[in-house]
Every structure is written in C-alpha cells, then in structure tokens.
Symmetry: none
Subunit: 226 residues, 2 copies
DNA sequence: TCTCAATTGTCACTGAGATGTCAACAAATC
DNA sequence: GATTTGTTGACATCTCAGTGACAATTGAGA
C-alpha cells in the first residue's frame, strides 16, 4: 500500500485530495506547512508528494528544492493557481516532476501522480545494461554497440529504447509511450512516436522494413521483442 | 439491487427517468439541485449517476467534477440539451463517462448507463492471460497460441475475445457487444458482430461450422463456454 | 412433417483509418 | 551562428473493420 503526502494548507482542497487518493487505494498523509511537509518526507516515507506552491510561511519552491535535496528520486507533483505564471523553467529548476493548475480535474491529478510514481519505480529497478541479438546497450553512459561497433543514438531515442526494453513483450500504445517517455509537459503528436520507432529500426534492425524486434501491432501500438 | 441517482430539476424528465429505471429493476434516487445531488452521492451510495448539465444554481459541470472528486470510480452519464455544444474535451475534463443529448431515447440512456456500470465493475479484475482447450491467450502481449503455434488476431478480434472471456457462460446480445466492445463513438450494424464471431471461429475452432466455444444462442446472441 | 419467415452463416469487396517514410521546419545545443 | 536533434506535415501504402448480398439454418405454426 503506497503512501502519498499532500502538502496543502487549504482545508477544502486537503479533504478533496484525501478522498481522491483514499478512494484509489492510497494512504494519505497531510502536512499544512512546508517544514511539516519536509518532516513528513523523512518520517512517513511517502511514494509521492503533492505540493501546493502557495503555502503560508516558506515558499513552495523552496520546499520542493529541499525535498528533492533530501530524496532526489521521490516524485513531486506541484499544484499551482491558474493565475500564477506557469514557468516550466522554474519547475525544472526546483525539481518538480509534473504540475497541475487549479482548478484541476481530480482524474488528471491522479493520473499524473500515478504516472510520476511509475516513472520513479521504473528508474529504481532499471537495469543499466541490456543486450539483444548483436546489440549491447549501456543506459548509464548512453552507449550502444552493434557487433562491437558503436552506434550513435540521440537522447530521445535512448529514452524510447529504454522504455520499450523495460516493457519488452508488452504491447505499448502510442499514448502510453507519450505519457511515460515524454511526460505531460510537452505532448507531441502520435506521429512523433512513429518517427522514433522508424529511427530505432533504421539504426538497429538488419532489415528495417521487416523488423524483428520493434514490432508494429496494428490498431494497438508497438511491441519490443528479443 | 442497484441504485441510480438522477440529478434533474425538470419534473417531467424526473418522472420519465424514474419510470424507466424502476421498470428495469433499479432503485431510483432523485435530487433536484447540484448540492442535493452531491449529498445523495455520499448518503445514498448509488451505482451510477445521471446528471443534467442544466441545473438551477450550481452549474452541472461543477457538480460532475465534485462527484468525481468524491467518488472517482462512480460512473456519471451526462444529459445535455441538443442546443448545447457537446464538447468532448469538456466532458473528459469534468470526468463524465458518457453523455446523451436531449431529446434522448430512454433505451439509449438505459443502455449507456448500464454499459458504464459494467465497465466500472469490470475495471476491478481483468485477467491478463486466459486458456481454454489448447488455446492460450495473453491480452497484454496480444499473443495467442493454439497447440503452441502462434495464431494472429487483430486488435478488434482481441477486444471481442476478451469481452467474451470475461463474460463466459453468459449470453451476450449483439447490442451488448456493440456497447461494450465498440463503445458509443462508432456504432456499426449487428452484422459486424457476426463477422467477428465468424473470424474468431475460423481461427480458433477445430470445426468452425460446429463451434464448441463460440456458441450461437438463436434469437438472443452469443455465448462463450470453455 | 412441411412451410415460411426470421435469424444467422459466409464471403468478397471497399473505404476509412492506421502506419511507413521522407523532407522540411523548429528547437535545442554547442 | 552552425550543427544536431526533435517534431510536424504531407503523401504513399497497407490493413482490416464494416457492409451488403446471398445461402443456410432455425423454429414456430399449419
């Protein structure tokens, strides 16, 4: 049973979030101030944090930085008022994993929190190297060789490959790939996914027009097999 | 006995819905305003909500959001006037599961409410693998083998098979299949269902003309047994 | 048992939608 | 500012779901 820490001073929002997460099988921990939130991160060991940027006393940005400082792998989803300027650079800088603007749809928040937890748990259990056919990948230093010869992949190509490898044999829809590889900040069209698959095929398949590893599942998505 | 909450201020529509659902074996709970509806969600614990978007006082959209806030798994079917712009994005945003435009056919409304309830109850447990006779299916990988040999199914065939498997031993009408497998976006003719059953039989039955698993129930629909 | 209407089985065809592919453009990086 | 990378749009290609026609079957009533 996973625990979610909500750092929020408004009672109404507090209760709404408590109900939302509790109804979906999570244990909810509430903190009303930044320092209390930091304390809870240490003591309650949550699986994710939902953090309101508008907090009395300590600014939410600083709270986020401190959390990421103490637990870099812990996903933090930020709540910001729609009147606030949503500054992607700021979010990146303070280390937030995702954000939702108020008024938010509970489903959306839930989806983003769950997605960020999935990303985090995958990162934790991610193998650092992988090999199939004559290809050897090292995700840590982002190096890939085929028959011993180095092949250059871009950062995005590595991300896609990593996700496919981690979910080998499973059919992945384009939407799932976009959600988990690209995240919610920038959400390109599904055509983009096709292109990245195309490039992986061109670089790694013996015969790109008859792929052995990067399979198309018509009407459903893609599947990596090895 | 399942309970359906109707949030609607117009007496005429109220009574019509009450009769419709009562005649089909449901208990009907009526609320005339948004806040009353929210209260009923908490106290009456309905299995589904039929919500008119045009309500006095609180806008229906907000009511829907609040309901989904309090009970994310509770299916909500929205009624909207035909003059309203039916905005799918809006519906998604407020978390509605389905919608019907006024004037609506009682049968259609009933079908959609029932379909959304079935979806909700099925969300809990959906097995990822299944086996019968010498056939083994994996719905995650979208792979199927018969006597160890792989058999290719299309995405749609997988969907139909999955639904039949999940409802094994039950007679499924063509309408029910169309509602649950095809959804309400595109609603083809019942002939289409026959065709998919035909293809499943041709691919999976030893003798397609004497099916052992995909049974026809004359005058009623189909039934999957194993 | 026979007849007949309704239901279902079956097949080939087709158009909509899904995917592959490339080139041009935009954005990021150096 | 040059180069690399990511994304989009356009177009070609392909797949398959859906349709309609007709045959076969079923079941009710004569």
């Amino acid at each position: 049973m996973e625990k979610i820490l909500v750092v929020e001073d408004d009672r109404t929002v507090q209760n709404a979030l408590k109900r939302l997460f509790a109804a979906n099988g999570y244990i909810v921990e509430i903190a009303r101030t930044g320092p209390a939130g930091l304390e809870s991160v240490r003591t309650a060991l949550p699986a994710a944090v939902v953090l309101d940027l508008r907090l009395p006393g300590m600014p939410g940005q600083d709270v986020c930085r401190e959390i990421k400082n103490a637990a870099p792998a812990l996903p933090v989803v930020v709540l910001s008022a729609s009147t606030d300027v949503v500054d992607k650079v700021l979010l990146l800088e303070i280390g937030a994993d995702d954000y939702v603007t108020k008024p938010f749809s509970p489903r959306e928040l839930l989806a983003r929190v769950q997605a960020s937890m999935r990303r985090a748990s995958r990162l934790a259990a991610a193998p650092e190297t992988f090999a199939f056919e004559d290809v050897a990948v090292n995700f840590t230093n982002m190096e890939l060789t085929q028959s011993g010869k180095p092949v250059a992949l871009t950062a995005q190509e590595f991300k896609v490959l990593r996700f496919l490898v981690q979910n080998h044999d499973r059919v992945i829809s384009r939407e799932e790939l976009l959600n988990d590889v690209w995240g919610y900040q920038n959400y390109p069209s599904t055509r983009t996914v096709d292109n990245h698959i195309l490039r992986l095929r061109q670089k790694l398949e013996k015969d790109p027009s008859h792929p052995l590893h990067f399979k198309t599942v018509h009407g459903a998505g893609y599947k990596f097999v090895f």
